[in-house]
């Protein structure tokens, strides 16, 4: 794989904590993702992977620690000893630069495929319509769905919907893409088409954080794999090291269960 580019990290997490009422879901996450790097987050369900992802674009508030995307503190302004939550307008501006793809696609069912893709460029970025449409069509061609521009999402298969969702996120020209179990809701025969679009993105040098159970994808597309369990990152490193020679018992146990289930 290509080496991560030097320079400041695209994502920096320092001691990130998140609690829901009585349960602490994230117990101090420290993580760095370099610009152009692809990180796969693996771990058992309920380990906090998706919650961490949702904290990165401030869909969830964090209770302690710091998250920086491209050097800027996410969701807060630091002044003296205090963190002040940002004005919603500024949070929106930050989110617009971070693409997110969801497990259940979450396409807008009342809009056509093309309208799904141009909605945010038009309404959030206030781009000219002709330009937005042109780029949307190029993106749809790239994910192999040029002919579906005028279809409604309900007419598409799960794999096609997820590819539209990726195009929709890319239309905002994000610096960072977050994938929350993008293939978990798909029928097995549709997983491949989504993964191949994601592989294409890694080759273009997109910085990506992918929560996934697809070990094969993690092995050949990721620069780094991080294993999360019970709200902490147990270990992280190159895919070969984590997936083939894990140092921790918990990682070994998880991999044995996942790979055992697949075999």
């Amino acid at each position: 794989m290509r080496p991560p580019e030097p320079g400041r990290p695209m994502l920096r997490a320092q001691d990130v904590h998140k609690r829901y009422r009585h349960e602490e879901v994230l117990k101090g996450i420290d993580l760095e993702v370099a610009s152009g790097e692809v990180l796969c987050l693996i771990g058992p369900s309920g380990s906090g992977k998706s919650t961490f992802l949702r904290c990165i674009n401030h869909l969830e508030r964090i209770d302690a620690g710091r998250l920086y995307v491209d050097g800027a503190l996410v969701g807060y302004r630091e002044r003296g000893d205090c963190l002040y939550e940002m004005h919603p307008r500024d949070i929106c501006r930050q989110r617009a630069d971070i693409g997110m793809v969801f497990q259940r696609f979450n396409l807008f069912p009342h809009l056509t495929v093309l309208q799904n893709v141009i909605e945010a460029p038009l309404k959030v970025r206030r781009e000219a319509k002709a330009e937005a449409v042109e780029r949307a069509r190029a993106l749809l061609a790239r994910v192999g769905l040029a002919d579906k521009a005028d279809a409604y999402p309900s007419r598409l298969s799960g794999g096609q919907q997820q590819r539209v969702a990726i195009a929709r996120a890319l239309a905002m020209r994000p610096k960072l893409m977050l994938f929350d179990e993008p293939t978990s809701a798909l029928d097995p025969e549709l997983v491949g088409e989504v993964l191949s679009v994601m592989r294409g993105l890694t080759e273009d040098g997109m910085t990506m954080i992918v929560v996934t159970h697809e070990m094969a994808f993690a092995r050949d597309a990721a620069d780094t794999v991080a294993f999360m369990d019970a709200g902490v990152i147990v270990e992280s490193g190159p895919p070969e090291e984590i997936l083939s020679h894990p140092r921790h018992e918990r990682t070994r146990g998880f991999l044995a269960r996942v790979i055992g289930a697949r075999a």
């Binding site: 674009n57 869909l59 919603p88 307008r89 929106c92 501006r93 989110r95 617009a96 630069d97 971070i98 693409g99 997110m100 969801f102 259940r104 696609f105 979450n106 396409l107 807008f108 069912p109 009342h110 909605e119 945010a120 309404k123 959030v124 970025r125 409604y152 999402p153 309900s154 007419r155 919907q161 969702a165 929709r168 996120a169 905002m172």
Partner: protein, 268 residues
């Protein structure tokens, strides 16, 4: 050839016959009734006073529906907001306006001058003409009902839709307007249609403050010529015309909403 003999249903036939005969007798007894002068009905069916009242009824209903819808969206959003004060205020409003008879509310608005002689520099009676009082009373009441209808619609939209909108950098109001409400509309439309039909008929209550609606006009005429039943039949006819048009409109809108393939669960 084998013959297929359907089940014989003597009771169904008998029941239908009884209903048909009863309906025919009722129609005949009204038609033959010497106390009804059909000429009077025909004379007033298109009388200018009645038509003016009809127009007022329609305008009243449309204005109240407009106020009620805007208010309903506002109240629903307040009810779903993070602030306990806003939630409580919205709940209190609905509790108060839904929990008291519309007739009482209309009488209060129509007689507000007895409570406040002046509103600011204006005389209350100059400001709150019977028509204005009627619009306010109906609109505010409608808002309480629409709030519950809109809230149910918003809740029915999958939470992932809001997540996706916010993740794209949309603000909450933008996501509500462009993503959530259009989808909620499908859930909102059927009960909102019922609500509008109910409002069309409820406009007749403003006749107690001489709101100038169709029933006010019919009563004004009948109190002079004493043909009460005839004028009520004149009004009945027009109310049925209005509610029929509203039902057809509702049907048409629901079909159009259904066509675009919009489904709450369509993406799952």
């Amino acid at each position: 050839m084998t013959r297929v003999v359907p089940l014989r249903r003597p009771w169904l036939w008998l029941g239908s016959a009884v209903v048909a005969i009863a309906a025919a007798l009722l129609a005949l007894s009204i038609y033959r009734n010497p106390n009804i002068q059909h000429g009077v009905i025909l004379q007033y069916q298109f009388a200018p006073a009645i038509l003016a009242g009809l127009r007022t009824t329609v305008v009243l209903a449309l204005l109240a529906a407009l106020i009620g819808t805007l208010l309903g969206v506002l109240l629903a959003v307040m009810r779903l907001s993070a602030s306990p004060v806003l939630r409580l205020a919205s709940g209190f409003y609905t509790w108060l306006l839904r929990g008291t008879p519309l007739l009482v509310q209309i009488l209060i608005w129509g007689n507000l001058a007895l409570l406040f002689e002046h509103i600011g520099p204006f005389r209350t009676n100059d400001l709150l003409t019977p028509f204005v009082a009627s619009v306010i009373a109906l609109g505010l009441n409608e808002g309480a009902y629409m709030a519950e209808i809109v809230r149910a619609g918003i809740i029915a939209v999958d939470r992932g839709q809001n997540d996706a909108a916010l993740a794209l950098g949309m603000s909450h109001p933008l996501a509500l307007r462009r993503i959530i409400l259009p989808q909620a509309l499908r859930v909102i439309m059927p009960p909102a249609g019922n609500q509008f039909i109910s409002l069309l008929k409820a406009t007749s209550l403003v006749s107690v403050i001489a709101g100038g609606d169709m029933l006010t006009a019919a009563q004004n005429i009948s109190s002079a010529n004493l043909h009460t039943i005839e004028l009520m039949l004149v009004a009945t006819f027009w109310y049925l015309v209005l509610t029929t048009i509203a039902s057809l409109g509702q049907h048409y809108i629901e079909r159009r909403l259904g066509k675009s393939g919009v489904g709450i669960h369509a993406t799952s």
